[in-house]
Symmetry: C2
Subunit: 703 residues, 2 copies
Amino acid sequence: MNMDVLNGLFQPKSVAVVGASATLGKIGHTVLLNLQKSQYKGGIFPINPKSDEILGFKCYGNVLDVQDPIDAAIITVPAKFVSQIIDECGEKGVKGLLVITSGFSEVGLVDLEQELVAKAHSYGMRLLGPNIVGVLSNSDDFNGSFAPFLPFKGSASLVSQSGALLIGIDAQTYTRGIGFDKLISIGNMSDVNFADTIEWLDQDKNTFCISLYVEGLKDGRRVIEVGRKTSKPIVALKSGVSAHGAAAAASHTGSLAGTSKIYKSAFAQAGIIQAEDLDNLFDRTLVLTLQPPMKGENVLIITNGGGVGVLATDSAEKFGIPLKFAPPDLQEELKKYMPSFGSAINPVDLTGMAGEGWYHDTVKIGFQHKWVDGLVILYCETAMTDPLGIAKSIKKAVDSTGIKDKPIVVSFVGGERSDKAMRWLVENGIPAYGGPDVALNAIGALKEYAKIRMDTLDAPAKFDDVDRDEALKVINFARNVGRDSLTELESKQVFKAYGLPVTYAKIATSEDEAVSFAEEIGFPLVMKIVSLDILHKSDAGGVKVDVNSVEDVRKFYNEILKNAKAYKEDAEIIGVVIQEMAPWGTEVILGSVNDSTFGPTLMFGLGGIFVEVLKDVTFRVAPFSKKQAKEMLNEIQGAPILAGIRGEKPRDREALADTICRYANMIYDLHDEISESDANPVLVYDEGDGLKVADARILLTKK
Amino acid sequence: MNMDVLNGLFQPKSVAVVGASATLGKIGHTVLLNLQKSQYKGGIFPINPKSDEILGFKCYGNVLDVQDPIDAAIITVPAKFVSQIIDECGEKGVKGLLVITSGFSEVGLVDLEQELVAKAHSYGMRLLGPNIVGVLSNSDDFNGSFAPFLPFKGSASLVSQSGALLIGIDAQTYTRGIGFDKLISIGNMSDVNFADTIEWLDQDKNTFCISLYVEGLKDGRRVIEVGRKTSKPIVALKSGVSAHGAAAAASHTGSLAGTSKIYKSAFAQAGIIQAEDLDNLFDRTLVLTLQPPMKGENVLIITNGGGVGVLATDSAEKFGIPLKFAPPDLQEELKKYMPSFGSAINPVDLTGMAGEGWYHDTVKIGFQHKWVDGLVILYCETAMTDPLGIAKSIKKAVDSTGIKDKPIVVSFVGGERSDKAMRWLVENGIPAYGGPDVALNAIGALKEYAKIRMDTLDAPAKFDDVDRDEALKVINFARNVGRDSLTELESKQVFKAYGLPVTYAKIATSEDEAVSFAEEIGFPLVMKIVSLDILHKSDAGGVKVDVNSVEDVRKFYNEILKNAKAYKEDAEIIGVVIQEMAPWGTEVILGSVNDSTFGPTLMFGLGGIFVEVLKDVTFRVAPFSKKQAKEMLNEIQGAPILAGIRGEKPRDREALADTICRYANMIYDLHDEISESDANPVLVYDEGDGLKVADARILLTKK
């Protein structure tokens, strides 16, 4: 990516405001006024052929009239003039276009929007928007937007797909006291998208945490790639997770929303932490901006009130960091600095009598102790203590240890005095929240961050024994005879080429052939009708299991054909599969879709009621590591079944993980060919005994 | 309950401060100072034999020295003096004792605490605490506590089991702008408990919503009774929900009965709405104080930003009120008052151009429309609009309709201007929140409130065909022979007495008897070992199913006895059950525990992996209505199984609900006798075909 061009967009040294206006209330006026109010130091060039001067700035008829170089053009003219402006900007050598103007893909004019992008690219320019609020940057004193002011100063940067929300958040940064360096409105994402912006923010020295409001990605797979490489925490609020919400989002931005389950996995694969709601986006942004990841799982809580201690304990469990007892030596040490009727177990209850001294001493001891991976300090405001004094004692204790690679998070339950103390803490690098549960959610985010970062280090599984040509041969044969789906047997051939353990099978087209194949494969056998016109083979009486003799092979061969004809008179019948009968095992399902946002994506779940009643499935964007495949096995509710319940042996999870990775590699490798597929059921046996794909289906992409 | 005595406690006309002190910082000083600062109009009598006057109040050596009547005594003297003080208060005719003093049951001195209560009762007094912060009441200008000031004025009342949290919350009421009339610290609940306090607050004319912070109830069943009768909304934050092992319980049901699941059901049965965390307790308290219940399920959202609209749509689904499309006539009407590029579908998107007029008109139309059961108004702060103006236009529109039985909730995403506008809305009776999701959660609480209130109207199911004497006869027989558990057959006899459909069975003690019973009952049969020393009959080779002939009865009779001896040599064997073999059906489990808080409580779940892997069970405190029993069937994840999946017929849910109610009545009726029980499996057949209890177990209470 050309960072210089993106610098021109996000950190311009000079800007033209195309459509600058002298009329108060017009966007072309507001943007110019905002540049002025934010004390932007770069060149400001209003473009308006009808004015000589606006707000004290000399006006130009055209960007070409400006002598100085122009990094960015902020375009506010009506939609119909934008194309011509882009030509002029291109000739002028502008780098970045911030197109505030709306009335493009969001009202259905997709082609018009794409023409603008093509034109911009032809000049080597990049385009942000259209339909944006603009870009705001504290470190550049740059408010290139129609949002009224720069956000509360800080080190996070927000990228928002909703303009109105960005403006609302801008104002909220002050009342929440959560600071941002940049706010970037990403609009219709016709050109510059989330991946580009994340990549740019990763190298921006004023951004410590990247915060996203996402309605729908257009560049899912690149976001994963870029996210994995990013050195900074990324946290995202994804909206449109409900069915109705997805519909609303689609009508809003013109982008397609994938299912929330796929997004959830894809974000994790991209190293992106998810936020639950708007509050949570702010809360997690704050902690990820200020504190390091939590590398272990031992959280120590120190409190002056039992009530908040219990609430925090509940929350610790809820957010995946259940409390453990503090080790005896830590308890002993803590007890020296607290009253005898307090508790040092965890939560450490200093009691309502706790003052600055006890907080200082116990925080210091706790933070230094090697068992402690993260510290949560709770305080209920009392009349006898000064919240600011408590805050300062906490900060002093932390500083005195010199430790910088462990997180600390604080919650004060109180009024104005506590709010001031918490602001002081935040200014001094310690995130503080009004509710104990919020503090635990925050430190939970730091634990997630540590895990998710570790996961991004894993390379996708690789296999040397794959025969891609064989798979393509099967697919091309089907295509050549005009089909866009494979038969079960063909599907299994493709699976086999990628090393998936399929049941051995052959298609018989006569009774004698059936017998000869049966003798070749050996009993017991399964026999199934092969017809692209019959999807539900069992319903059609087209399946016989546990076939044990030559006589039965003959009998069933004819019976199956008769049933099929009775079921669907004009069905075109290819033959009858004679198939190895896999011994029964635990039924699992693998499947794939070519997700419109993320491309080839694998689904895994247990069969039977788990998938049919509970929809107990999990996803990964392909390809991925074997460690991820193993995590998939643990993510489903039915995980204990695979681990072995009621004294049963564990299933062969190692082999299953291997198969999952092979499947993922197959759909990635063949994503131009396979649109959907499934292996259902896959029968998984005891540990060491492997598994068998008993049925398979592949639908081809339309070409 | 004697309301006059409780009035003396919560709304005293005069108070003595026993242990009043002239020393700044002592609790006996702080309380007196707080009474003075809160401008309490009643008589204030400091009791301290060593002082003549404190803070300008005449001091008394003893409550008996006071000539005027004393309603309440606030006791702050050390624990060892409290008993004597209670005697003096009793003689004086004090009504209520607010015992701030700590050092009783919370440090293990349970007996001492109970003596105080007994003494108080002997004088007709009630005791709040010990170990409390005190009682605060805005409407009485009464701060009878050591919390530093009265809370922000409002119409909710909070009862807190944590003192430190109450003080913290007291201060937070100001920064949150959420008003309370009373804050009541309930401490150790040695006498006055949650049920008493709820009952009193229900008749308090200054309380519109009862808000609870609960760590553990002592009077669970009375809370349910009182809660059901209460005319005001009750909302509770329950802490201590994390896995504090449901460990040592003997039976399956016992181990599944995590306290938080039972609390959840019990609160619902009590008509109490639950809060998720501290923020949520405040947010739900506010909405329940200001707005009526939402009686239908049609929420209309009006917004000026698509982004918050999508977030709200997601939240609507999350909080159980998924959005629907607005009906065409409403859309038509709305479209007259919004720009053509907006959307009237729902959310109604007025676009960023929306001003006061559009908000006013669409709010008015929406609120008036009969399809709309509740309204959520969202607003993202913009530079062009005045949040206070928007707020006022919303209020004006609502008022103009004259409608008072539909709720409205608001969310403004913005800065200080928005915060001020939201404060104005709250002061004018419209709850407003900084996040769209919070607004949806709030209106969700009003929907829950409507449902939960309807549910409390249902009377428990009643049955006339119950034979309690027969059940007691079986139980007493077992007790008389020194047992504290019943055999399977005895358990079934008790179940049968309460009308549960059990499989017919008899115990054979000889091979010939086995044959004769078999012929009486008819084939196929099940045969099982009967021994109190063998709990896991299958493991012991003590079960034979599908027994079809007299020869097999003879063979298996001996085999079972041999296996049992081999399994446990010294097992005392009662005989072999010859039992009707119920045809196979959908396996469900019913069970009961005598919960230490709520008493007899019933569990229901599907059998097999649903209970073993997924812990997919639900609870109700017994007894309850048939409607509740039917809701239990829908609450479990496996509910679709009962409804019939894969084209299967629905199970006989009517019969199952009937059996559940009978079971609940049984454990309620016999709660002095039955400590735990289960019916596992219960086999449920197709609709109309009923069900059968195939195995049963009852453990008796120790006497």
